[in-house]
């Protein structure tokens, strides 16, 4: 089946991203497809390239990038939720006159419509929050 995942919790604050990652890897091992992961609410912090947890803790940003690299899972981030929380791409940084940015590929800023499309297209949408 094709699954969509909605992640609403921030790394190192909510266990939701950890649960979502475990779920994602096991889904793929069972032969399912993942149509996309959508990051909303505090979940947008998963996309921050600047996170630097202690070395004995999982780097969640890196773990999502590895999931993408191994399985081409799209990682979509709600742009409105991201911008107000300080998560932005190089293009948005330019538009807002900021000197730096913290979101880059494979994470992509996108609109909420992407979440609704994901829900409609996939056989299952599972929320981690």
């Amino acid at each position: 089946m094709e699954y969509g995942l909605l992640v609403m919790g921030a790394p190192y604050t909510s266990p939701a991203p950890h649960s979502a990652l475990r779920f994602a890897h096991t889904l793929l091992a069972r032969g399912h497809q993942i149509g996309g992961v959508f990051f909303y609410h505090e979940g947008v912090h998963n996309a921050s390239a600047l996170m630097a947890p202690p070395q004995d803790e999982l780097n969640l940003h890196k773990a999502w990038v590895e999931l993408h690299n191994a399985h081409q899972v799209p990682l979509d981030v709600c742009i409105a939720a991201a911008l107000r929380r300080g998560i932005m791409s190089e293009a948005e940084a330019k538009r807002h006159g900021k000197a730096s940015f913290n979101l880059e590929a494979p994470f992509e800023l996108t609109g909420l419509g992407q979440l609704l499309t994901l829900q409609q297209r996939c056989d299952r949408l599972i929320t981690f929050a």
């Binding site: 266990p15 779920f23 599972i126």
Partner: protein
């Protein structure tokens, strides 16, 4: 319908979920939700005990293996969690 509970059994989320669970629904308790294992009188067990599952990895992390065993609750691993989402078209998370 499958209901995922990620908060403690006395939380707002748990209370709202219990009102929304229908006759052929299943419940999986994950993250803080596994604490229901400490509360044999929890509303969920009264109403729906046959269809309540606990996520084994979270039970172990929370130190509740003994409580799950002594109450003969059903723990499933993450493969079992996914199997539940395969069986139910609709999944709702209460958090």
């Amino acid at each position: 319908m499958l209901h995922i509970l990620t908060k403690a059994p006395d939380s707002d989320a748990a209370q709202q979920m219990l009102q929304a669970v229908g006759e052929n629904d299943a419940i999986i308790l994950t993250e803080a939700g596994v604490q229901a294992a400490l509360h044999s009188e929890w509303g969920g067990f009264q109403l729906h005990s046959a269809r309540i599952f606990l996520l084994a990895e979270d039970v172990t992390a929370w130190g509740l293996d003994d409580a799950v065993a002594s109450q003969a609750l059903t723990a499933v691993d993450i493969d079992g969690f996914i199997a539940l989402t395969e069986q139910h078209v609709q999944t709702v998370t209460w958090y």
